[in-house]
Amino acid sequence: MSHPSTYNPGSGLEKWLDARLPIMRLMHDSLNDFPTPKNLNYWWTFGGILTVCLMIQIITGIVLAMHYTAQADMAFDSIEHIMRDVNYGWLMRYVHANGSSMFFLAVYLHMFRGLYYGSYKEPREVLWMLGVVIFILMMATAFMGYVLPWGQMSYWAATVITNLFSAIPLIGDDIRTLLLGGPSVDNPTLNRFFSLHYLLPFAIFGVVVLHIWALHVPGNNNPTGIEVKDLKKDTVPFHPYYTVKDGFGIAVFLVLFAAFVFFNPDGLGHPDNYIKANPLATPASIVPEWYFMPFYAILRAITFDLGPISSKLGGVIAMFASILILFVLPWLDRAKIRSMRYRPAMRLWFILFVVACIALGVLGGKPAEGNLVLYAQIATAYYFGFFLIIMPLAGIMETPKALPSSIADAVLAKKKPDAARSHASGGAQPAPAE
């Protein structure tokens, strides 16, 4: 949160620079002395983890681009050249490919955390919306990156996804042609996807800077959802308290990351992408990467026409709406209390929401036939119902638990669990867990 600067230039050089470009002051105030609620749990380490993910993707990506050939006849073989003949090329490529999965895993946990603790609510609406922008840019980047190896799944995923745009009335076909650079997926598609795949990560980086800026104006939310009242009692400096805690979280995350890279590097991929792209042979099933599957399931769940809206257009609308709805989330939620820790009814709806998202993810990877279509429709209905019906109504109808009076109080109550329990049985005080 905004706080008086505590930067004290030590040397003459630092004083000289501070009078001209106070960049050291900015770094000090936002990364070193930034007052951070003292009760953040491990779900708050994903911001740091995501920064590391972005850096890993950019660094490995720059190295890969030095050896990759963005030409339809050569792209597939150039990837295998990286795997076989470039020194540690296999490492760069496996880190980059699994890195996208790790990035999405972390971003989904980060988003669920924001949902659960109400981090999108006033005064953090812009912070949340910038996060949604980052998420959309990530999806575009990942999709285009997946096309670059020019395997069967690359080619056919590009075909299926760009086809969706042709469902848009009037201008759909033109948009599709513009995306592809021609009537079908071919060399021009590969070239423009490579160009954009190199560009967008830097756009993401820029929005991440805004995201952190927007975080540092109101300051961190925290598991209780109540605002900082007393900087001294409620907060600690970011460094060393959260650099070390985030550092630990990042290291644990890297263990999972390394386990995939070194021991199951193709486990999250599809075998068909080790077959060179062939426009004449459609794979038995075209499935996206796991992190797109929930949205793919929503797309395919709309199997019926709605008046003038065909099922295809309806699916496209539903899929885009499922992401865009996140932008208005801060205004859909009418609750006064941020954290679901004190909203017992909402917590159950939230758990159901996570289950629906996971179910959609599983269904997105299965053929859309029989009962699976019905399941996907139920999960899709719940996905939208959660935002459009449950969120607005819960804020009005629920009976929340009482909030602790301050972050410091909540922390102290946790330290003395007996005291907290006796409070809780009295019904007057919440039972702050953790």
């Binding site: 490492l91 890297l254 070194f262 075998p271 077959i275 038995a284 289950v355 996971i358 699976l372």
Partner: protein, 309 residues
């Protein structure tokens, strides 16, 4: 610990939904699940059995290479570290300045290249003509066909896939290729196999297309009580027979199973020649990261110890 309770609920819910759905889909599966075997290269510490790699290359060159290429492999790959014919040092009788750990100087690799069953096309030479010559270690391993048209002409219009990545390009690649090679059987009586086609229960196809007319109803579906056999038909005849390849080591059985297992070992190496380096680095990386985790956790406890939290 509310969060961990939530996490547990979610994991249970996710597992349940996964189980329920996989059961629903299994019913429509059309090929037999590959037989699961234990492979020398499996697991975090798995490495390649060098003898099996060498035998596997022999099986590939003698049998598979008649129709299938390995276009991503060069002869030199055979002699690189982790490859079938890698040498730490030269055998006796070599000059001191020869480094046999360099694949291009490896005498076994040089011999394999110069005596390979196919020539490479090189040129143009001084008179502007393309010439065929025996391969050298730095050449890609030449395949049986000059182009796809010739390959299809020679194979009843089927295209034999390249084998460089075949293990990675199939679900459960090693088990699948082994099962396919050893799993040919006579087609069930209910189906009619076209000439030049061969039935294999592990091959992904649709046998309902091959049912004899007396087992079909008016709509062309199987009549009640008739099961559609698993698997499919492929243009490749059973490629391996007991004793078809002579192994130098008299102790190794010359059976279809042994040939298939050896060639799978070789093709797995061919699909990822750097696998051993990857796993070795993985072990070191994980040890490093786990120590780092421990140090950071300890630092975290130490830093936060003085705080009321």
């Amino acid at each position: 610990m509310k969060i961990s309770m939530i996490a547990r609920t979610l994991i249970i819910a996710a597992t349940l939904s996964l189980c329920g759905m996989s059961a629903a889909v299994a019913a429509s599966g059309s090929a037999k699940d590959p037989e699961h075997r234990h492979w020398h290269f499996a697991g975090p510490f798995g490495t390649h059995d060098k003898d099996a790699l060498q035998r596997g290359f022999q099986v590939y060159e003698t049998v598979c290479a008649s129709c299938h290429g390995v276009e991503l492999l060069s002869f030199r790959n055979l002699g690189q570290k982790g490859g079938p014919f890698y040498l730490d040092s030269c055998p006796d009788g070599f000059a001191d300045n020869v480094d046999c750990s360099n694949p291009n100087e490896n005498p076994i690799v040089k011999a394999i290249a110069s005596q390979y069953r196919y020539q490479v096309v090189d040129g143009p030479d001084d008179s502007g003509d393309m010439v065929e010559r025996a391969p050298i270690a730095s050449d890609r391993i030449p395949g049986p066909y000059a182009n796809e048209v010739i390959a299809r002409l020679a194979n009843n219009n089927a295209l034999p896939p390249d084998f460089s990545l075949i293990i990675k390009a199939r679900h459960h690649g090693p088990d699948y290729v082994f099962s396919l090679l050893t799993g040919y059987e006579d087609a069930p009586a209910s189906v009619e196999i076209a000439p030049g086609q061969h039935y294999n229960p592990y091959f992904h196809g649709d046998m309902s297309q091959a049912l004899k007319p007396e087992f079909l109803n008016a709509e062309g579906h199987a009549i009640d009580g008739v099961d559609v056999p698993p698997g499919g038909v492929l243009a490749m005849a059973p490629p391996l027979f007991d004793g078809v390849i002579d192994y130098a080591d008299p102790g190794t059985p010359e059976t279809v199973e042994q040939y298939a297992a050896d060639v799978v070992e070789f093709l797995t190496w061919a699909a990822e020649p750097k696998m051993e380096a990857r796993k070795a680095m993985g072990v070191m990386s994980l040890i490093y990261l786990l120590v780092l985790c421990f140090i950071l956790y300890w630092s975290y406890r130490k830093v936060w110890a003085k705080l009321d939290h």
